[in-house]
Symmetry: C2
């Protein structure tokens, strides 16, 4: 049993870990980024619906106010807080992405660690460490599940994410490696989430599902529930039933020493991450709409069924449309601003007209994190730009852009208060209390 995949993960999840200063800093940036996109998302339908359910269930009536949720001063049970905060922070699709397995680590894992961190009276450093461990573990499980799993239709944010959430939750509860095996085994029977939900409220709901499922599994194991500890990789386990590739060596390579999380990619455009390389390339070329005769974006084939909606009809759908976001940018809309993605903007006849001039082609030679953009200008000149998101961004630049994005979303004051919590190692509850800002107050920032 000690040589199994689950056991290796369980040991990593329960023992002391030694992340270096760089990855710790990246984790802190992800906590700030997560807070800012979550607060900015409190008005979204999935945030409103899950918050209303949580408040109807108990918080508002004086039930166990264990943890804070986005957008209200009322606390709710930890498991429910994870659901609301996971769904809310993914509502805008503006949170971080990891391309190794293609998933959003923060939204599934941070809510689980933070909610139980509050319950346990943990410090912010403990929560950040548990979240970092859980996010790394979710990436490792995601690598193990592989592209076959994603390709079959599963949303790694939700599936791999649930294992990371369970591990982070288990760590906050002080579970040992044997119990952590149980958590992974129990999560295996409930981890779920389909890419078929992309473009609907079901996508952010998937993130909340992963976070709350992880919390529930860890809590039940702590209460004595016994599952099949081999249900992740054993016969008829999660991998076998969910089209997993099962490359253990690849998934465990360097575990505990190498932190894949360091390569997490923060979003600076408020749309599907598959569109970002193209937008960065377009910024580089800087061709205004009236000058465009024709535009061709070459992208990796895997994005074609993810974010190539040719003629979106809603702001949400527009976030999954190459043609629309490139046209928006050419017309000078700031693709980093949330209100740019409105029905009014995307149905502007001039924009619809430009959209017709943009061609999206699949090219297997283009990496999944890259793009090749070609613009034929009306004056006959042809411009080309190549951009790859995998090209690492230096830490200072990354920090500047994450903070600038956060300030744009939630204002200078909140950003400073959040950053102070992250740097001074106060109680996790102090950071969590920043979630409770009233949505109406936030509108004014």
């Amino acid at each position: 049993m000690t040589d199994t995949f689950s056991w290796q993960l369980a040991v990593f999840a329960s023992k002391a870990i030694t992340p270096g200063p760089l990855v710790r800093r990246v984790a802190a940036l992800s906590m700030l980024d997560w807070l800012s996109v979550g607060l900015a998302g409190v008005g979204q339908p999935v945030a409103r619906a899950t918050r209303a359910l949580a408040l109807a269930e108990g918080g508002a009536k004086g039930g166990a106010e264990q943890a804070h949720i986005f957008g209200t001063t009322t606390g709710v049970p930890a498991r429910m807080a994870a659901l609301v905060n996971g769904a809310t922070s993914h509502a805008l699709d503006y949170d971080d992405t990891h391309f190794a397995h293609i998933g959003h680590p923060s939204v599934a894992v941070i809510p689980a660690a933070l909610a139980l961190g509050e319950v346990q009276g943990a410090s912010m450093a403990q929560v950040t460490e548990a979240a970092l461990m859980g996010m790394e573990l979710s990436i490792r499980v995601g690598l193990w599940l592989g592209r076959a799993h994603y390709g079959a239709g599963f949303h790694q944010t939700a599936t791999a994410g649930a294992f990371g959430a369970g591990a982070a939750a288990g760590r906050m509860l002080g579970l040992d490696a044997g119990q952590m095996m149980q958590v992974l085994g129990l999560v295996a029977t409930r981890a779920a989430g389909l890419r078929a939900q992309f473009g609907t409220d079901g996508k952010p709901y998937n993130a909340g599902l992963a976070a709350s499922g992880g919390v529930e599994a860890a809590q039940l194991v702590a209460l004595g529930l016994v599952a099949n500890p081999q249900a992740l990789e054993g016969p008829s386990g999660f991998g076998a039933t969910h089209h997993g590739e099962g490359n253990v060596a690849k998934a465990l390579d360097g575990l505990g020493k190498v932190w894949h999380f360091e390569q997490v990619s923060h979003k600076f455009h408020a749309c599907c991450h598959g569109l970002h390389a193209a937008l960065e390339a377009a910024r580089e070329l800087d061709v205004a709409a009236p000058e465009v005769a024709e535009m061709t974006v070459a992208t990796n084939p895997r994005w074609m069924d993810v974010c190539n909606k040719p003629a979106p009809e809603s702001g949400l759908e527009a976030k999954f449309s190459y043609r629309t976001v490139l046209a928006m940018q050419a017309f000078g809309y700031d693709t980093g601003q949330l209100d740019s993605y409105s029905t009014r903007v995307i149905s502007d006849p001039r924009l619809v007209d430009l959209r017709q001039k943009i061609k999206v082609v699949a090219d297997a030679a283009v990496p999944e994190t890259g793009t090749r953009l070609t613009v034929l200008r009306r004056d006959g000149a042809t411009l080309e730009a190549v951009h790859d998101l995998a090209t690492p961004m230096e830490l200072p630049q990354r920090e500047d852009r994450v903070r600038a994005k956060a300030v744009g979303l939630i204002g200078e004051d909140l950003v400073e208060r959040a950053w102070a919590c992250l740097m001074d190692d106060t109680l996790a509850a102090r950071f969590a209390s920043l979630l409770q800002v009233d949505p109406d107050v936030l509108q004014g920032t």
Copy 2:
């Protein structure tokens, strides 16, 4: 859209239905059976763990006491009640089974209907009708997913069951067909449950997962959440990603007129349903342990990896072992009694010795619901019995056996009170209040 599988199901789930008197009576028997196995299960680990979590979350501290749960007087939110009651009622693996898709309809669906029935102030007739519709729908979805889905490793009780739970919950909330499509779409992204959990607390947890997932999905749709309404059968939907067969004609055949639920099989032995035909055949032959020289049970190959544990080490594992239960019966243990399945009983050296003389063979000619049992007696005589659970039991006999089983589990008084609720059409809350019997009190019955 109106010709899709989901739409047909959504219409069935939301419109008036006309079940005949026989299936209504069978549904009432299942409600009684569900109550009795649930109450008998309150001391099981999965019941204790889920109940403790529910009470810690809110009920005990005055949160929303929306619905009753097994084994405590404190009410909890409906979604949580569905989790606790689903897991608790499946804890003993003694609830009903439907062999068309191989699933336990009651434990996934009744808790969802009952919990929201309490919230809505519904009558018992309304709850029974919603539960019957939901159980029928779960069987239909199970037929659509088919044996490929089950064979791949999925627990239909949990997967198909979640759709039935969602539909029953949606009906209690008065959702229309369009909203019901949304419920099915949202359930599609969270329906889960692995057969790899068989023999652990994870199996009954799967039932609670289905019930609570259905409630949560229906509540969120009622609160405005919008999912992909085609996520059940559409591209990269639940069926496509979960090894579904997708035979729509078979699944919808006679929907609304033919009630497959009528064929549900109640359990009269407190072990895995795959063992029951063999036990019935052994009762028929009635050969006592000292007379047995050799025993051979021929069973359908599909059961070989489900309930053929050759040498179980716990009472729970024994419930999945042909050799053990047949040896128990030959030694005169009542396989209908819960306390027969103890470590003490199964490790009795005489029983272990007899176990060695019992051979289990796969035979594709034996139906899944049947068995062929051959006993070579010490006196040289060979006896053979064939039994098939699919041979319908007449209603009066079924009613007698279900009631006798319930009386054995929870006592005459509770059975009479429950039956009165079911027949007199009182408020659902009155029936639900029977769940709150204290486990310690129950021990005395």
